[in-house]
Symmetry: C2
Subunit: 361 residues, 2 copies
């Protein structure tokens, strides 16, 4: 998608065997490219959220294995790289999915062949993600188009939480892909952007993406969505997911569950958009089984942003000395989800619904 | 209550006919006293939220009338002061209630007597607020004690949103008064403090209050409450209110409704604490009838806090140029409220429940 009118992806292979990423901790105030040349750099980029978003984390981890194999293509290094990458973030299943996929190919190869094959596999995962996201966009745009038709062409108001746009994937995004496709189809769309505390990925990344793409949007506090729904100002909620159980429960950025409750209370459709790599067929109870990452409390007590002169700073907003807890995700039970938007189409958030699209499972 | 071990109220009469307040826009980083010497200063202090919290706004407005009468005790000045004070914040009913109460007394007096009587009336409203808050604390502490007994003395986890502590009143607070009384009774209480975007009154003021009083607490993003309730880590939700209809609907800080939904979904009791001056007996449908203040978008796009060197700064967190909307309150329907805690006791959030306590209505 576009930054300053120029096409970008979030990650791409660079000369000399390295991989380059947009350093998302610098957005929206600076568009900085970071070069990752080692497994350690990849693990750090994932843990520190220079790359984030379940699909992008998966692709980045695949590149991490390629970089690990460049340094040491032996079995021990492969196992250790797999372990480190999987531990870098605990909630998104795409990470483990991508690592397992690449390892299952490499393990049968001679060490000398592993780096090249890992690079090819990482590139393949990236391309598949682009295709899947584009397909999610088409299926989701049909939902937006139907609401637009019902409103007689009046703008469709979509509320989204966190960033599940192209910056969370390789390109297009998951929850935002339907908006970009709808825009391309000429449908009038306005997006309510949850700022998404504590890391403000909505205000910083989603608003940035939508602005760069020319999509009408308004940033709101995470607290505001219920009020907007009570007053008929939200037509559809679209979010991404970090892990979806076979029964349709969806882990996503902390606070998603609260929006799902408000949507259900006000009869607003609530859809979760994610590729197949986000599905965890081994789990049946999201609230009980999905591990929820806890991050440092200073992400809650302090807020980073740009001073008036453009330089970056971090301010303390809490009472000095007060402790904080920082849960990164919550789980929205399937009963609150109107539908799941996957690359194969839209289905009910139930085991039967998912098996209808993924009958091979 | 205590700041640095010294007893404070939020507002008090000062020498020379002025009134002094704790400037709450400076908390938690500085304890600054502001001196208000005119109606204009009072209107500005309310609009800029140097004082905030429905009960405290009411008391401050009463002092504003006294200052207005000092400058010009005529009928025209009285009407104009009443108009300006009521327009300074639209949602809290205590403001209009206090202004109407003082005006109804002054209007029958000779101008020469008005300033002195207005001062006495403002002082009386303040004292009554202290007594009411203390009574709310006793009634609410009974609820906490019952939960504590059921948990065998294990800490009772209370979640609160925004600041409805002593800083929102003259002393004691509304939603926090039960916690202070429970603490005094030796009950083990831990408070989950919603940071309360966009103005962070939870992180800045509630955490400050609780810390100064020695109450165990943890600051969380507003997004986290649902997750905590899903995992059994919240025993009770206590919030204040800015206006309560005769049918029990409660307007409170934006985001309260989302916590009420999560509480209902998880079987967690949700109580709203407020004095009688917060009751608006003229309204029957909170969502449709209570005016919701919209404030400037820059309160969402920018965050103020302390830099590492202790100086204050404001950082831009949103994508530059993205617009923001800033709804200050939402309305929690009575069906989601377990009970209302008033100075006369606890009642159901229904017309019958309220009339049971306030039979004179």
């Amino acid at each position: 998608m576009l930054i300053d009118g120029k096409r970008f992806r979030t990650i791409w292979p660079a000369a000399g065997g390295a991989v380059e990423i947009i350093d998302q901790t610098r957005l929206p105030h600076a568009v900085a490219i970071a070069r990752l040349e080692s497994l350690e750099a990849v693990v750090r980029a994932i843990a520190d959220m220079q790359v984030r978003g379940a699909p992008l984390i998966g692709v980045t981890a695949a590149w991490g294995l390629a970089l690990a194999m460049r340094a040491d293509p032996g079995d021990g290094a492969l196992a250790e790289a797999s372990r480190q990458l999987k531990a870098s973030r605990p909630t998104a299943v795409n990470l483990a999915w991508a690592v397992d996929r690449v390892v299952s190919v490499l393990i049968h190869l001679l060490p000398a062949d592993r780096e090249a094959v890992a690079r090819a596999e990482a590139a393949a995962i990236a391309e598949e993600d682009v295709v899947a996201c584009r397909a999610i966009g088409e299926h989701g745009a049909d939902l937006i188009a139907a609401i637009g038709a019902r409103k007689g062409g009046e703008a469709v108001n979509v509320l989204t939480h966190c960033n599940a746009g192209w910056l969370a994937t390789v390109d297009w995004g998951t929850a935002l892909a339907p908006i970009y496709v709808a825009q391309a189809r000429g449908i009038d769309v306005h997006v309510w952007v949850d700022e998404t505390r504590p890391r403000n990925q909505g205000a910083a990344l989603t608003a940035f993406e939508l602005g760069q793409q020319g999509v009408a949007h308004t940033v709101i506090a995470d607290n505001a969505g219920g009020h907007l729904m009570q007053h008929g100002r939200v037509d559809l909620v679209l979010t991404g997911a970090d892990r979806i159980t076979r029964t349709g429960d969806a882990a996503n950025k902390i606070g998603t569950y609260l929006k799902a409750l408000a949507a259900a209370d006000n009869g607003v459709p609530f859809h979760v958009a994610a590729p197949a790599s986000t599905l965890d067929w081994s789990l049946t109870d999201g609230v009980a089984q999905i591990p929820i990452e806890e991050r440092g409390g200073e992400e809650v007590t302090h807020v980073a942003g740009a001073l008036a002169d453009g330089s970056m700073a971090r301010v303390l907003v809490s009472a000095p000395g007060s402790p904080a807890a920082n849960f990164a995700f919550d789980v929205t039970p399937a009963r609150l989800i109107t539908g799941l938007i996957t690359e194969r189409g839209v289905c009910a958030a139930t085991e039967a619904g998912l098996l209808g699209l993924f009958s091979e499972r």
